[in-house]
Symmetry: C2
Subunit: 268 residues, 2 copies
Amino acid sequence: MIVIKVGGGEGVDTELVCQDVAALAKQGEQVVLVHGGSYETNVVSEKLGHPPRFVTSISGHSSRYTDRETLEIFVMVTAGKINKLLVERLQQLGVNAVGLSGIDGRLLEGRRKPALRIREDGRTKILHDEYSGVIEQVNTGVLTALMGAGFVPVIAPQAISYESVALNVDGDRAAAAIAAALGAETLVILTNVPGLLRDVADETSLIREIPQAQANDYLERYAEGRMKRKVLGATEALRDGVGRVILADGRVEQPILAALAGQGTVIK
Amino acid sequence: MIVIKVGGGEGVDTELVCQDVAALAKQGEQVVLVHGGSYETNVVSEKLGHPPRFVTSISGHSSRYTDRETLEIFVMVTAGKINKLLVERLQQLGVNAVGLSGIDGRLLEGRRKPALRIREDGRTKILHDEYSGVIEQVNTGVLTALMGAGFVPVIAPQAISYESVALNVDGDRAAAAIAAALGAETLVILTNVPGLLRDVADETSLIREIPQAQANDYLERYAEGRMKRKVLGATEALRDGVGRVILADGRVEQPILAALAGQGTVIK
């Protein structure tokens, strides 16, 4: 079994991703596709007059502020538009795909983040209506029911809290949690760079292989920005039993097949 | 088994609908919930600068023009926002709901409408990019897999064409097709009127019962506007084996339980 995470960032070619998913499915491989969508959510949020807002916590950490309206736009764009158009394209390629959000069947369950304590204009404020969280449990029932009947799941990055509140979650860590819960052999995380780079400004500085034991060192030394969460997801997946994680380029021809052939950063 | 259609129009109280679904599920009843969403889709379309467009065919029939952008907004709002927020609310009420669109697993399959021939400004025009259709086949595999595992399906009104193109479809007829394919005993169609009225201006003129054989006569004589498609859906469901169809008021307390107790227009 292969779990594939395709980012929502600019540059990643979802058409090529779908073609590879179809090729793998035709070979009899069980594939699970997890996707993001923050880029397109930002575009729609702007158009709807509710632009994304980033805040700085009292400890100096910057993060997106997901109020209820933002959460609902996230759900609309990722679990609606992106998810169903991926399902449509996969169906055109002969893959009997079914789209889900992590809310469905409580697939991804976790803890809602507490109120945010932020610094703004030199003052401390508390934001209570934060709708994001951290996955702590994967309830695989809905996936095993669908996969047992021959369907290919396509999953949008939401979770549900223990109190049944829908939450925005990180797509990379969602894919890692699903891969671990399903006991997947391989997790492929596609992004718009060739993998983990020694020098973010130089795409030829790709780190080809990382032994699992050293993943945290590499995370500290080389991962910046969004890549941090990808490497963090990778270490979580390996810790929980996934065979290998490949951070690979989603912009190239046959992005998944190339990753499986070893192109990208292989962590195992 | 009971299939329930809840409209997306103003006035229908989805909170009360969810409470009744939870009550039925707790009694061990197998429930399938089908929803609409054209009202909210229109609101979002306006905000996104792509307002709904209605055209008049050369035969004088008025209909919504669903170009690709409109279809994508429909998918986003109905299969994304409305569907997942219903799932969230049902989960809060203890129902293990899973949301789907008719695209998923090819659940609702059918024929794409041909190009529209319209009259506009006194001239005939042909609109080729119409993304709506008519359901001809229900592939129940995805539903039986989920229901067999104990989940309650919540379904958004899209279908997929034989060429695997996503299509907007009428929610009432989608519910009717699903009820027939699953061999449901009862189909409840909730709307923002008490049922079929002899006089649309008088809510006390409710028609309490229609024998199946006379459904077409009642359709011709009393149904106007959107009610036409509800009665049409009802006749299709009865023809295909559903025991009874109840057109009922979605604005009252316990709307589904009241309908099952005979309030509304019962067609059987």
